[in-house]
């Protein structure tokens, strides 16, 4: 395992292409497909390079299909890179050595490893046996993690009886039982309600602080990234378009905040336009995008000048931040190529 100075995750020119079968619609298409299969090469990830130091928590952002999961799968050894190389803790992931598998974990928000009809404790015991966790270690780790996740009284309930939030916490417990040093998290808060999202974030933050584990996580929720990831990687159409601090990302791409105002009575549209870009007005509720630097003064003006019955401030959707990064990188590319 790497020391604090050397990278624990290293990707160099990481590239992955897939050959995908192409089929025209209808019976004729099916027949043609049966006799002569047409294929097309799709490049999912193109020359992605980055390094991550031990203990870092890094957010991995990108739209659906941008190449996040493919990159995670190469880093966990599930996919063999088409070109380039990667190393995690000094191991080549695709060789899937026992030591490597002992050192990592991958949690996917849309897949579960818990056995559905059995209590969580059965999956935990199975994982303890698979990873060679001793009985004493098992008890200590389960007690500690279950307490942190506030899950101690849920371990003997069948998984299917747990709420979505409890299930994700149980997934994390099962995935961390063997004390992995590198956590790959793919949308760990997907579909969870706000309370459960906060609980998972809080847990990950504490886990990272306590164990010094390295975390690389993807998420669609900006709040996950702002709460956990001082550094973010942004990937677009398979290529890395940003690697740097979250603050820098916000500064450079000016992620706007979203002001949601509920009005006691109707007002002139002009009064809303004066606050920022009006995203929508539905009934008595208006959504307005505001530059972060102007947030305080805009809120003050709204409260002073409008009949506000409720006002909330939201993070911008991650797509907006990523969209701005991508827009900028595309403009830069066009400028370089003169297109």
């Amino acid at each position: 395992m790497s020391d604090a100075g050397t990278p624990i995750i290293e990707a160099t020119g990481l590239t992955k292409s897939f050959t995908v079968a192409q089929k025209d619609p209808g019976l004729a298409g099916a027949l043609r497909h049966f006799f002569r299969r047409r294929t097309k090469e799709i490049r999912a990830v193109t020359e992605v390079s980055f390094t991550i130091r031990p203990g870092e928590v890094v957010g991995f952002l990108g739209a659906n299909g941008a190449g996040k999961t493919t990159t995670l799968k190469m880093l966990t050894g599930l996919l063999h890179p088409s070109a380039g190389s990667c190393a995690v803790g000094g191991w080549q992931p695709f060789q899937r050595t026992r030591d490597f598998l002992q050192a990592i974990t991958l949690v996917m928000g849309n897949k579960q490893q818990l056995m559905w009809d059995l209590p969580t404790v059965d999956t935990l015991k199975l994982n303890a046996a698979i990873y060679g966790v001793s009985d004493a270690e098992y008890r200590a780790r389960v007690d500690e993690l279950a307490a942190m996740l506030e899950l101690s009284d849920k371990l003997t309930q069948p998984v299917r009886k747990l709420s979505l939030g409890e299930r994700m916490k149980a997934e994390l417990l099962a995935a961390l039982l063997h004390g992995p040093k590198v956590l790959f998290l793919d949308e760990p808060t997907l579909g969870l309600d706000v309370n459960a999202q906060v609980a998972v974030r809080h847990f990950l933050k504490r886990y990272n602080a306590m164990t010094g584990a390295t975390i690389l996580m993807t998420s669609h929720y900006m709040a996950d990234i702002t709460a956990l990831c001082p550094r973010v990687l942004v990937i677009h159409e398979g290529a890395l378009v940003h690697d740097g601090g979250l603050d820098e990302l916000m500064r450079r791409f000016g992620a706007r905040r979203e002001l949601k105002i509920e009005l006691a009575r109707a007002v002139e549209r002009g009064a809303l336009d004066a606050l920022g870009e009006v995203l929508s007005v539905e009934g008595s509720v208006a959504r307005i995008a505001v530059e972060p630097a102007q947030l305080v003064s805009v809120v003050g003006r709204a409260l002073a000048e409008l009949p506000v019955s409720d006002l909330t401030v939201h993070d911008p959707p991650i797509e907006e931040v990523v969209g701005r990064v991508i827009g900028k990188s595309q403009r830069a590319n066009h400028a370089e190529t003169g297109t």
Binding site: F18, T19, K73, T76, G77, L78, L79, H80, S82, F94, R96, R98, L101, Q102, I104, T105, L106, K111, Q113, M115, D117, L118, D122, T123, K125, L126, N127, A128, A129, I130, Y131, G132
Partner: protein, 263 residues
């Protein structure tokens, strides 16, 4: 070695808990294997009319033994593996430091133990309904039958799991098992004891894996079989070795393909 044993015992107890969570399904699975009883009815009548060298009671005992052997040797790994590839569960298994084969083996062995009480119940019911077929096998026959049933399970598992691995290319290998099942039905002794085959055909079939799946252990259980047991065990072990070697080769290649095409 200790770590390996601990892993296997962990897998066995987890899968036993898993199997017993589906008690109702286990009864149905045990009943679904009642084909031998149906065939027994047909063959019993034919045997009573003479001409097969078997008495009605011998036929009844043989098919009861077929039922028992099928309970001990049923293998479904190909359907499970298909599902695991299609639903992405295989990827999760690949992230853990234990070859997925051990999971499937543990699942099959645990299911066998969980199924035992239901199978015993069906046998007891059969004896109650048809007292002439009641018999207690000699201890040595029982022991030999269990040894050959274990070999049958190992062979059937190795063979079916090897076919299952083609799901790494096609995502659906269970159709291959459909083809194999026809040979299994005819040549294993599931439909009729192999004594009804002409001698030359039976001698040829004895070099294939099929008669060891049912006929040899079932005949041992129901009163002895006229084959060279040493040769039978060697043929069986030979096929097991061949399929295990083939399995590992296909596994390595399939995994390479799986990790190239999308896990």
């Amino acid at each position: 070695m200790n770590a390996a044993l601990r892993r296997m015992s962990g897998l066995l107890s987890a899968y036993y808990a898993y199997m017993t969570a589906y008690r109702a399904e286990l009864i149905l699975w045990a009943l679904a294997n009642s084909l031998p009883f149906i065939l027994m009815g047909a063959w019993y009548q034919a045997a009573e009319n003479g001409g097969y060298g078997f008495s009605g009671v011998e036929v009844a005992r043989y098919f009861l033994a077929v039922f028992v052997v099928r309970q001990l040797t049923v293998v479904w790994v190909i359907w499970e593996f298909d599902q695991d590839v299609q639903r992405g569960r295989l990827s999760q298994y690949l992230l853990q430091p234990v070859d997925p084969a051990w999971r499937y083996i543990a699942a099959h062995l645990s299911e066998r133990v969980a199924r035992l009480p239901f199978s015993a119940l069906i046998i007891a019911l059969f004896f109650l309904l048809f007292p002439p077929a009641r018999f207690v096998p000699h201890a040595s026959d029982l022991l030999l039958a269990l040894v050959f049933a274990s070999l049958a399970f190992a062979l059937r598992f190795a063979m079916q799991y090897t076919l299952a691995l083609f799901a790494l290319w096609t995502e659906r290998a269970s159709s291959l098992e459909g083809l194999m099942f026809i040979l299994y039905l005819v040549l294993s002794g599931a439909i009729a004891p192999l004594e009804v085959f002409p001698d030359a055909l039976r001698a040829a079939v004895l070099w294939t894996p099929f008669p060891y799946f049912i006929w040899v252990p079932a005949r041992l259980l129901s009163g002895g079989v006229d084959v060279d047991l040493v040769q039978a065990a060697l043929v069986c072990l030979g096929w097991i070795t061949l399929f295990v070697v083939l399995n590992r080769v296909v596994w390595r290649r399939g995994l390479k393909r799986h990790s190239a095409m999308g896990a």
